[in-house]
């Protein structure tokens, strides 16, 4: 039987690729018996969908924590754009 450590690796891999039949069967059996890995899988799947939804939104693409481009490079980049645009 799979250990929890092996099962979590497969739970994550299942988000990236199709597991082999043997892996799917082994994982299904493990998760049926193991509430900790069930919680891990549920959380990983929801978080994965959430990330995908958020980062394809305009808000997610812009980052939310108010990082500012430093004034000095702002001015430098503006100058460079002006020169390039001429």
């Amino acid at each position: 039987m799979l250990s929890c450590k092996q099962a979590t690796q497969l739970i994550s891999e299942a988000l990236d690729r199709k597991l082999s039949l043997g892996q799917r069967v082994g994982l299904r059996f493990h998760v049926m018996m193991c509430s900790a890995c069930r919680a891990y899988r549920r959380q990983l799947v929801v978080l994965n969908d959430l990330f995908s939804q958020y980062f394809s939104s305009e808000r997610g693409q812009s980052g939310g924590r108010g990082v500012s481009l430093p004034e000095e490079s702002r001015q430098r980049i503006k100058r460079a754009i002006r020169i390039q645009a001429e």
Partner: protein, 215 residues
């Protein structure tokens, strides 16, 4: 759901009737830095984690946009178009790094995952039983701030694979090529990144917020 007042006609109405495409929004490079500079910078910084490099790449992206301004057709917003250009510039940085040195950091984060399990591979500390509510979390700025902090604590290599694959949704084979790693490397690294992020969000958000974050 109020209708627009009759004395304020839709300026595009005649064009719509004539079946012409809507006018592309004004594309004004002299305003880009003020309108999009911060967003571009934070986008690059999260992915590159180096302020100087992020500033440099943002400048390159803006200049490439000026050169290619004729290709902007107003199908997407100006912001989305600029971010798309920035995304390519960032991939170039990764590809350049890859060409310049050996692939490092493949063992990043392995110890952390090992530490969650006992020698038989059983959980030492099983995941807590929280149930994320995606609709609510989407709207919570604080949650995304916590997420970004967790991202900053990931080892560099894990942050890279996570950003390229999960955040930017590049194809797996593209990510492997750009970083010079195999499929198997990618799956292991993504697993470590997800496991650390899950653990970090549990500690810094779901445990703290308790019931408010649950369904």
């Amino acid at each position: 759901m109020g209708k627009a007042p009759r004395d304020d006609p839709d300026p595009e109405a005649p064009r719509k009737l004539a079946g012409e495409p809507p006018v592309a929004p004004a594309c004004r490079p002299d305003q880009w830095v003020d309108l999009h500079g911060d967003a571009m910078f934070s986008y690059a910084l999260m992915r590159l984690r180096d302020r100087d490099l992020a500033e440099e790449v943002v400048q390159e992206a803006f200049l490439a946009a000026v050169r290619g301004i004729d290709r902007f057709q107003g199908k997407s917003s100006e912001r989305t178009w600029l971010i798309g250009i920035l995304k390519h510039k960032i991939l170039d940085v990764f590809a350049k790094r890859r060409r310049e040195g050996p692939v490092a950091g493949l063992d990043a984060g392995g110890d952390f995952v090992d530490g969650l399990f006992d020698p038989r591979g059983m959980w030492k500390q099983p995941p807590a039983d929280w149930r994320p509510d995606p609709a609510k979390l989407m709207e919570q700025g604080e949650f995304w701030a916590a997420f970004e902090q967790c991202m900053e604590h990931l080892p560099q290599r894990l942050a890279e694979v996570f950003s390229l694959r999960v955040v930017d949704e590049n194809r797996a084979d593209e990510v492997c090529k750009v970083l010079g790693i195999t499929d198997t490397n990618l799956w292991v690294l993504l697993h470590r990144a997800r496991t650390r992020l899950r653990h970090c969000l549990e500690a810094n958000w779901f445990r703290k917020k308790g019931k408010t974050a649950q369904t």
